[in-house]
């Protein structure tokens, strides 16, 4: 009997080889399934961190589900939180489609809130003005203020090739300081850091306002801003996927060189998309001010503009998918307010985006595990 000798060089190697093979086509369910897995993984990782700082992740998550979807009242609160998120999510999705990195939705949100408040507080319209004029004027002012806040980075990008990531971000800090000046110095009420409460004519109608007619609406906070958000989602979807302009925007995003050869005006589109994106974020500010806060004050956003970036990415830049994703993040922000430590919702949002961008590897590639003997 002969024994076959192993070769002299015996090198240890991993028993499993991981090989990436680019997918030629992606099944329709894949993106959805992988994203769901990424969110689940992010929640697990967030739970691990929560455990590390001495919390009880299971109880915290169960509490969050109950506090955001437990009864009709909190579901309405969740939808109220989701309303501005839909609009900033759309703002980001639109700009990102053109690979225009508008990180400034937060600042444009503040600008929109300022614009809408200016109508009431300057006052541009007398407080007795009926809602039917007051509300559209505020919507217009919020949209225009947000669009102007987006115009500058867009113009600088188009004209001088200034990096829009940095410029939009810097505009965020400027917007906050601008609003603070007006809250502290101009529109302050009795030295407090907030303006006076808007007259009722400047409030977006809430479900609770119709409690007399329909008893079930009593105490429900959802307001007309939701309708603005839903309409905006349909319009942005139509513009992006059914109009010639939307085709241009997507073409620039996918292949700027081809767009240029095709004669698409990149300079004009950069400015316009940035303004429309800013306007949408401005609408979110208007809706929050007029539908929830009813006055201008400092703490009007728990980072809505940044959440919008994550929402847009999770929705795969699809305006209609932004709606359900916004509801999920609205729930996270609503229920997270009472979770200690206070940074938890922000942390989970960040981890979701990390897992999401990492998971794209599995959408683009088939991952093969190849088993082999330890020694060659």
């Amino acid at each position: 009997m002969t024994v076959v000798e192993a070769p002299a060089e015996r090198r240890w190697r991993w028993p499993i080889e991981i090989r990436l093979e680019p997918r030629l086509s992606q099944p329709a369910w894949l993106g959805f399934g992988v994203s769901l897995g990424a969110v689940a993984l992010a929640l697990v990782l967030g739970g691990v961190v929560l455990k590390l700082v001495g919390g009880d992740p299971v109880r915290a998550y169960l509490y969050m589900i109950r506090a955001s979807f437990g009864n009709l009242g909190v579901i309405s609160d969740t939808i109220t939180k989701a309303t501005p998120l839909i609009l900033v999510g759309l703002a980001c999705a639109l700009a990102f489609r053109m690979r225009l990195w508008n990180i400034g939705a937060e600042g444009q949100f503040f600008a929109g809130a300022f614009g809408a408040s200016a109508v009431v507080l300057t006052p541009l319209l007398a407080p007795e003005t009926p809602s039917i004029w007051m509300i559209p004027a505020m919507i217009l002012a919020g949209f225009v203020a947000g669009a102007l806040w987006g115009f500058l980075p867009g113009f600088l990008k188009a004209r001088y090739n200034v990096n829009e990531i940095i410029s939009t971000l810097m505009m965020n800090y400027i917007a906050v300081a601008w609003n603070n000046f007006f809250i502290f110095a101009v529109w302050t009420e009795g030295g407090f850091q907030m303006s006076r409460v808007f007259p009722k004519t400047a409030w977006l109608p809430r479900l609770a306002d119709y409690a007399k007619e329909i008893r079930e609406f009593r105490g429900l906070t959802a307001h007309l801003g939701l309708v603005i958000g839903l309409l905006a989602a349909v319009i942005v979807w139509w513009v992006l996927f059914r109009s010639k302009w939307g085709y241009e925007i997507r073409l620039i995003g996918d292949n700027p060189k081809a767009a240029r050869y095709a004669g698409v005006n990149i300079v004009r589109n950069t400015v316009l998309v940035m303004m429309l994106s800013g306007g949408l974020a401005g609408l979110a500010g208007m809706s929050e001010i007029s539908g929830v806060v009813h006055r201008l004050q400092g703490a009007i956003s728990p980072g809505y503009g940044f959440t919008g970036i994550i929402i847009a990415w999770l929705a795969k830049l699809n305006p209609l998918a932004v709606i359900p994703v916004s509801v999920l993040f609205g729930a996270l922000i609503l229920a997270g307010r009472e979770i200690q430590p206070s940074g938890v919702p922000k942390m989970i949002q960040g981890i979701v985006l990390v897992c999401l961008i990492a998971s794209e590897l599995m959408i683009r590639n088939r991952i093969r595990f190849i088993f082999r003997p330890v020694r060659s």
């Binding site: 990180i103 200034v162 810097m170 603070n180 940074g343 919702p345 942390m347 960040g350 990390v354």
Partner: protein, 322 residues
């Protein structure tokens, strides 16, 4: 409002930006755009003061800040280099996650009370040089002096050494570097790690030296983003980065100090009598960053300078592209 004192404090404030900017220059020179600087600085600031409070040793805090931010940067490195994902989104993701983590782990730190800070020194002989001495060499934190050493070191490394040439090669033309046997992925991991470490140092410099304490997101208040802007202004050159950082530091100090005196240049100080104008002063560093970017990009066009050619592009051997 003694200009010498403002400049002296400005150099200290600018040192924070210096570390962050030089770190990002190293990462971007290797071809990886890391937008997570702000978050990594916050992690650095939080872990530095956290450890300093627990152990009473600020040096240990500095070390942990470096390691924590460096390890965190590898999340972005793996996603950007190995997974070849979009570097802008990956960097933003790292930033959000890092900000959130620093808030969670920093809970309660703002009430920690007094903490041992990194020491300050006055350099013998050098402090006697008129004007320069009091600004640069008198009662400065040890981090400021480390900053002085870092500038020429990194410049010489990038421009005059063989590893520095490899660094430039993997950022400009990774395909060619790969053909010469340089391990592109490994080096990119290394430089992203160095960049993360320096962002951690920048954070620790805030919380343990320049503006001691933990004020959650206000600790950095956007300085990480300003640093990324400065990299573009500096055209990826550490000397220009140093100039920009110290100028920004002095500007930030001036804005803080200008509201103090009742008389300014022989006139009634409007910023003292109208304290709310301070909000417009607060905008200046951010507006200035945008202005600097405009100037920087116009100059870049004129001199035909630009970013490392492969910046933001993943490298895969055998695929078309750089």
């Amino acid at each position: 409002m003694d200009p010498i004192i403002i400049l002296q404090a400005g150099v200290a404030t600018g040192t924070v930006l210096l570390f962050a900017t030089v770190g990002e220059i190293l990462a971007e020179r290797s071809g990886v755009l890391n937008l997570g600087v702000e978050g990594m600085m916050l992690i650095g600031a939080m872990s530095a003061i956290n450890i300093a409070v627990r152990t009473g040793n600020p040096w240990l805090g500095l070390l942990v800040a470096m390691v924590a931010s460096g390890l965190l940067s590898q999340i972005h490195a793996v996603i950007a280099i190995q997974f070849r994902a979009d570097q802008v989104v990956s960097g933003l993701a790292l930033n959000f996650a890092a900000v959130g983590l620093s808030l969670v782990f920093g809970e309660g730190l703002s009430k920690a009370g007094a903490v041992a800070l990194l020491p300050t020194y006055t350099l013998p002989v050098l402090y006697q040089i008129p004007v320069i001495g009091p600004i640069f060499f008198t009662k400065q934190s040890v981090m400021v002096y480390i900053g002085y050493l870092l500038i020429p070191l990194v410049w010489v490394y990038i421009h005059r050494t063989r590893p520095g040439m490899h660094l430039r090669a993997i950022g400009e033309f990774p395909g060619a570097a790969d053909a010469l046997g340089i391990n592109v992925a490994r080096l990119r991991h290394l430089y992203v790690f160095l960049g993360g470490m320096l962002a951690g140092v920048a954070g620790a410099t805030i919380s343990l030296a320049v503006a001691p304490g933990w004020f959650s997101e206000l600790t950095t208040s956007g300085q990480g983003w300003i640093a990324i802007g400065l990299v573009i202004f500096a055209q990826w050159d550490p000397l220009r980065a140093a100039f920009g950082s110290y100028a920004f530091g002095a500007l930030r100090r001036l804005i803080l100090d200008i509201q103090g005196p009742t008389v300014l240049l022989g006139l009634r100080n409007p910023f003292y009598y109208n304290p709310y104008w301070g909000f417009f002063l607060q905008m200046i560093p951010y507006a200035f960053t945008i202005a600097v970017l405009v100037l920087g990009s116009r100059e870049a066009v004129r001199k035909r300078l630009g970013a490392p050619a492969a910046l933001g592009l993943p490298y895969a051997r055998g695929e078309r592209g750089l």
